[in-house]
Symmetry: C2
Subunit: 498 residues, 2 copies
């Protein structure tokens, strides 16, 4: 081989905004995804896995007049093929855009309606921040080709089932449902339905979205003449008169004790608006369908204050929120908040085929759900380290490998120490680092006598920390057993800690 040009050693580091996941971080997420996939499957959804790479124009981010696709995605141009310029490719930024492409491409072979689920990484070319990475998991279920709001109701029920399946108890979550059509009706009543009112509608939408932060008065100011913030900066308002602003405020605050009452209130607010009435009726239907399935308002409720991604959705929208409090990094209590959301959209497939295809779907934020379960102490963090067979005599590796093979064949997680066995202390330090529950020792004396030493490392650690001398004497954490009893004794100890 030619002598390569000497280059400085590369730094061993993840690219900015990416990270590595180790051990239980990986397996806990895999367990959660498998549980959610189980629920999706039970609801009749089929798995779909598309590649991480799509053509940029299929993702809908292609701007023909710039040299490079716009920000937000990782994109690159393929090498030219003879005189044809290479395609622009990109990493998918969500699982919905690929679904639209897949459905348009394979629609003649797919059932209609098509219920599909997908789970996997997506990539965003965005500025990373604390807890915000440029690769993360999504876990989606969508129904394509079903105009009936029964599809939306089904997804809300499935979302509730998923949360319970992964360990969120009933009472610790609420799925809230709203309808974009009702909001459109309210905007119509408020005089903001015309094509020339686009800017005003935008102001109203953003104002509603800020209710949590600005409070009722702040939103009210933005609906009217405008709002001056603490720093003195002025934000233009939508210019609604008092009566119209009342309608919008009433919409946000329309939630009542029961779904029926909430819908009745919304019916008042949308007045004669055809689209608004249609929206209210859809909400009523959803509530009826959910009740028939046994999903009462303690799990899924109508809540007009839900305003998620409103530019994108065309009908029902829904969101799952965890209702318990956790401590934030400063020790303050706060609600955990949203872990999943979705709604109905109609335009994604149309981009490819020209035909409108109704679709509705949900995305569950598995990383947030894992954080929630972790905060509640509900993740399985029990000792999962392997039994470590130590090496007392390098020349007898055959004996140690036979032990470890026996343990593994009995279904017990086990390994032989594969580092340099010279220093026995290092072997026990290794077992500690691996969170090993048990260590096996077979020196020459034990070998001669047909015995092995079995150290209960969990009990050993407890004793080292807490026990008095007497307790230490009474509770030995090391046992000498017949070699033939190795597996049975190890199993007995492991069962103590399950």
């Amino acid at each position: 081989m030619a002598n390569p040009k000497k280059t400085p050693r590369p730094k061993a580091e993840t690219p900015r905004g990416f990270r590595d996941y180790f051990g239980t971080e990986v397996t806990q997420r895999a367990d959660m995804l498998a549980k959610i996939a189980g629920v999706y499957h039970r609801y009749g959804f089929d798995a779909l896995e598309s590649a991480g790479v799509e053509k940029v124009e299929a993702l809908g981010k292609f701007l023909p007049d710039v040299d490079r696709p716009n920000e937000g995605v990782f994109a690159w141009q393929e090498d030219a093929d003879s005189d044809k310029p290479g395609d622009w490719l990109a990493l998918r930024y969500d699982l919905t855009a690929p679904l639209a492409r897949v459905y348009a491409q394979h629609r003649n072979d797919l059932p209609t309606p098509y219920r599909r689920y997908a789970m996997g990484p997506v990539w965003r070319n965005e500025k990373p921040g604390p807890g915000r990475y440029r690769q993360f998991y999504q876990c989606d279920a969508d129904t394509v080709g079903a105009a009936s709001v029964a599809a939306d109701a089904e997804i809300c029920a499935m979302l509730a089932d998923c949360l319970e399946e992964v360990g969120i108890e009933r009472g610790d979550y609420i799925v809230r449902v709203n309808n974009r059509k009702v909001l459109n009706g309210v905007l119509e009543v408020a005089g903001l339905s015309g094509d020339d009112k686009e800017a005003e509608r935008g102001i109203v939408l953003r104002a509603i979205d800020k209710l949590d932060r600005l409070g009722v008065d702040g939103v009210r100011a933005l609906l009217g003449a405008g709002r001056k913030d603490e720093s003195g900066d002025f934000t233009d308002g939508a210019g609604l008169d008092d009566a119209s602003a009342d309608v919008v405020m009433g919409f946000m605050q329309a939630k009542r004790d029961s779904g029926a009452e909430t819908c009745a209130r919304l019916r008042e607010l949308v007045g004669e608006s055809v689209i608004g009435l249609e929206g209210v009726e859809e909400l009523e239907t959803i509530a009826d369908l959910l009740a028939a399935g046994g999903y009462a308002a303690d799990r899924i409720e109508i809540d007009p204050s839900v305003v998620r991604g409103l530019g994108y959705y065309t009908g029902p929208v829904y969101e799952a929120e965890l209702t318990f409090e956790i401590k934030d990094e400063k020790g303050r209590s706060r609600n955990f908040g949203s872990v999943a959301g979705g709604g109905r959209y109609d335009d994604l497939v149309k981009r490819f085929t020209g035909q409108e295809v109704p679709a509705t779907g949900v995305s569950i934020g598995v990383d947030r759900l894992l954080a929630a379960l972790d905060a509640k102490g509900r993740l399985d963090t029990s000792a999962q380290g392997p039994v470590v067979v130590t090496v007392m005599d390098k020349a007898r590796m055959v004996d140690y490998l036979a032990m470890v093979a026996e343990l593994r064949q009995a279904g017990i997680r086990a390994e032989v120490y594969l580092g340099n066995p010279k220093n026995f202390g290092n072997q026990l330090k290794y077992a500690d680092k691996r969170s090993s529950p048990v260590a096996i020792i077979e020196g020459d004396t034990e070998k001669e006598n047909g015995m092995v030493q079995i150290k209960d490392l969990i009990l050993g650690a407890q004793i080292a920390e807490n026990a008095t001398l007497e307790e230490w004497r009474d509770r030995p954490s090391q046992y000498e057993v017949l070699r033939s009893n190795l597996v049975a004794k190890v199993r007995e100890i492991l069962e103590l800690y399950q």
Copy 2:
């Protein structure tokens, strides 16, 4: 929003060399990965998941004197950050290069030795071909920081266990082990050890690799003066004299009935070569360790003809081959061949840290394994479609959703028909497309009588295909049961087909 420039509709297509996976294609692979992960875990390996994106220089493909990293990887340059040029990023092309980066980056926090497994997609910027995609799965296990060949023996045993776990029966596979050091010893004996013999060594390696295709005579010609193929093209040989060529030929054909005999033969061939003798002793140790674990030569054997990726490996190499025959696309029988391989490598971490770190690992080709199980008819392809509750009366959707909720809560995969229910034939066609085992029908008459119709679609299809009129009368495939017996009757039918 400004009126966007009108662009033609994008084509709905995957980029060249990528594909979509549907339904059981996804779940069968997920099941296989979960089973393999279970074995890896039992052997003490910990999960690791790194991002799909790495810095190009961490992957070791960066050529500083070209504008763009070389072919083989998908790479792009990040946007510049003020006056600093952006990093070159790339999609990982395997799971080993990221492991080296992770180990170098986190080595102070990781146990030594570090046993890790990883599974996920990798990307290759190569010309796609039939069955060759530019994104595919790898499923690796590696031990980093263990110089002992006990680590190699362990991985060979684990590989055998993995194959049996996913459904390859004992006798249908063989794990073959060789050692790069033995080959180096043989080359030394053949007079090809000098730095100036690089070219000749390359010819010998490539010749050995072609034994299957060229046969003994062809390889022999390449070891000597050279070889003329059928088309008349001449390939230069390594120029070995007869005695030296005999040694190399002897190496390739050194396999005997038992590992001990094979090792004895290798010992003759490497003569006085220190590295060669070391290699033979390592193979003997591996054979002893495996025998102690119960892995006899019917599962794992020493085979000097294994020559995989020899440029990369520094010690033991191993490969799993399926030994049964399948029919190729032209109906000819052929051996299925290799499904996994690996070996010992020492230089990957050194790139980052300057310190040599011994490592050994295996990669299982899950897609090939799935193809093998499919060819043997051992994949679970039992009907997994959902029970379909048909819609006879759109106004009674509430009734149908209640049924479907009951079925799901009983753990039965079920869905209500969400398409336009006008044409009942379409609903049964849909159930057929979904491979539904059972359809539920509740028309107005049934509703009045408190009954439902349950259609056994699998039996129905069998009868339609084969039955005589008498059989058809005797074996009704549709049952009318009390609404309250819905779940029990559906369960009874499903159990027939499990």
